[in-house]
């Protein structure tokens, strides 16, 4: 068995600053909560995934065409049009959202109780604070990255112990089902395998 990973409270983020880390920890814990069936974002170490993605090519938008002129206020249907890359969006939007939480609910997001956090996230999703267009993508990427981290191969830092795969019944990186194509309407019984060969 692999050695236990660093506890999230002791994890040293690659790029997130302490306040950003605190926000991400708090936000993903609401986006995929831990109670009820199935693992939450915290047990699956989604914050680590997000930190690593933001520290890497995704955070830097290395693959994207990021040359101006920019029209951040264009219709959302026209895709990513902000001059900021995802990391910058997190860096700039978290303080804005925290300020809004403080003004509206009296505390920064991470310090609110769960119910208020849910309310605040809903407001963010609905853009009730009319965030500036450059930061418009914030809730969208936050939620997308959270789900990505929940479902991606564990080597990216999230989906710890393949827990999300086990929960829904996805066999991971097996990719070999010839003998099962014809077994119609029978649930496939075998647990997942990860890219590194971890078995679940």
């Amino acid at each position: 068995a692999a050695p236990a990973p660093t506890p999230l409270t002791e994890y040293k983020p690659d790029c997130l600053k302490p306040t950003e880390w605190a926000f991400v920890m708090a936000a993903v814990a609401r986006l995929i909560p831990s109670d009820g069936d199935g693992p939450g974002a915290i047990e699956t170490r989604v914050p680590v995934f997000i930190d690593k993605q933001l520290a890497g090519d995704f955070g830097k938008a290395s693959d994207w065409y990021m040359v101006g002129p920019y029209e951040p206020a264009a219709s959302p249907l026209r895709g990513w049009q902000t001059p900021l890359n995802p990391l910058e969006i997190y860096q700039q939007a978290i303080p804005v959202f925290d300020d809004w939480c403080k003004a509206t609910h009296g505390k920064i997001f991470a310090e609110l109780d769960a119910a208020t956090q849910d309310k605040a996230l809903t407001s963010l999703q609905k853009d009730e604070m009319k965030i500036k267009p450059e930061l418009r993508e914030f809730f969208g990427i936050l939620l997308a990255n959270t789900k990505e981290g929940y479902f991606a191969d564990p080597m990216y830092g999230g989906n710890h112990g393949m827990a999300a795969w086990k929960y829904i019944g996805f066999p991971g990186a097996r990719g070999s089902y010839k003998e099962w194509v014809g077994k119609h309407n029978v649930k496939y019984p075998l647990g997942p395998v990860s890219i590194s060969g971890e078995r679940g």
């Binding site: 199935g38 693959d63 990513w80 829904i168 990186a173 890219i195």
Partner: protein, 589 residues
Amino acid sequence: MARTEKKKDVVLVGFGWTGAIMGIELANEGLEVLALERGHDQATVPDFQYPEMIDELKYGIRYGMMEKPANTTVTIRRSLDETALPYRSLGTFLLGTGVGGAGTHWNGLNWRPMQSEYHLKSYVTEKFGAGVMTEDMTIQNYPVTYDELEPFFDRFEKVAGISGQAGNVKGKIVEGGNPFEAPRSDDYPMPAMPSTWDGVKFRDAAKAAGYHPFPSPGGIASKDYVNEYNMQMGPCNHCGFCERYGCYNYSKSSPQTAIIDALKRKKNFEYRVNSEVLRVEKAADGKTVTGVTYFDHKTGEEVFQPADLVILTAFALNNVHLMLVSGIGQPYDPVTNEGVVGRNYAYQITGGYTLFFKDENFNPFIGTGANGFCIDDFGIDNIDFAKEGFIGGAYWRAGQTNGQPGHTMALPAGTPSWGAGWKKGIGEWYGHSMNIGAHGSVMSYRGHYLDLDPTYKDRHGRPMMRMTYNWHPNEIRQTQFMKSKMEPLAKSMNPTTLQEGFKKEGAMFDVRPYQTTHNTGGTVTGSDPKTSVLNRYLQSWDCHNLFVMGANVFPQNTQYNPTGMVGGLAYWAVHHIRKDYLPNPRPLV
């Protein structure tokens, strides 16, 4: 000019499906052939190898195999009066790069167009009257007939290695196949693939409704296979990582499985990677081209590569861009309706139903790119345009391609997008739903075209290509028609619940979700140089030693995925290059 390379007989711009086909056929002719490929070299092992390849985050979500917009992209606007904005991050279509091109990460769905699609303009006007066309519609006939192309469709299917069930062999209808397909000279080279539960359920319901279901034809090997070039495939195991991924299993038709190792053995063939063609160079008199200039990313130099024959095989959008930046052919002007390069750009319209079955198990991770069953009962040949009020058609398919949870997770309407409700939803519904899709034709219109963007430049300082495109009422009517027909069929299957996804009136082109990479037109083939860029042999009207391959030659889009037609046309064109052009280089028409 930094460097000039030794002259070649033929230079191919791009080394994907069409580049590989032209390459092997012309190399077999004994010519010195050079393929220039902008991307990297790649082979099944190590580049698509198990298990590294089947990584949803890297390839399915971050698009690891695709050309990065940072390197190449387009700008997009929905109408002439909008300012085009760059397509900065990938969404609606995905461009291939590297050896094999998009032929490495396609789904393999392989079709020949329906019979009316080859002479659509005549078919419409003769059968229903020109009045059924909208005023701005610019559809045309192909300058070549199905009968002329049939041997080449057959050839491409056998080279690529397509699995399927014939429906019409030489006019004889074959039980279990597509009775509406154009008559084929021979069966598919491999039997059809087995289907998962969702496809079988659809087949049974369609049959019960009086439709004519048949297994989806695809470049997915149902057995071990050896093609005419002695290249091999192994049987697909429904790995569920097909589209967006290279096949680690030697099972998906690709230039790699069908052509490349055989081609590499030829001493008169050479390919250079990381070599991005910037433009085709014209001779002083503009009657011929002299070769191409490319950027060698390894040395950082521009290189002039002289050649007697230049063939663009760089994928539809890139081929059009190259024609525009090279100044070959008059660019299209939508205001005057004059000019040809960039004209008749079209796309694909899709829609469908998702059906949820609480107590059934679909094992959604078992899938292939071309899984399941189809019907062509609402194909373009079977629609009364006058009665229904649109021109077009669609084929329907049910067959899961993958169960990758990060980007393929159907949840019933009303499930929250996050929080406890979402988590409950994925636990309850993953593996308990299926989809039926309609894949519809798109006509060409005066307002849909490609030209050079006035503002944005690519990394070589060339103007980017600008795409002007939006959903047209004709296609909205077509897709809404499909919805009206699909709903009763879906309900007949008694799902726990179901939901639809069809475009409605007023729908605007949204670049964010993936739709298809079926970009067509821009340098269309035709019989009149005023309305086409290429003659029937895909030869440039302007420069006779320039040929252009790809879906960019389609006068309008068909109701099918393009590659079967692209491959057939490539074999057709190269046959005529070998037989008619090489012995006597000249304009063939």
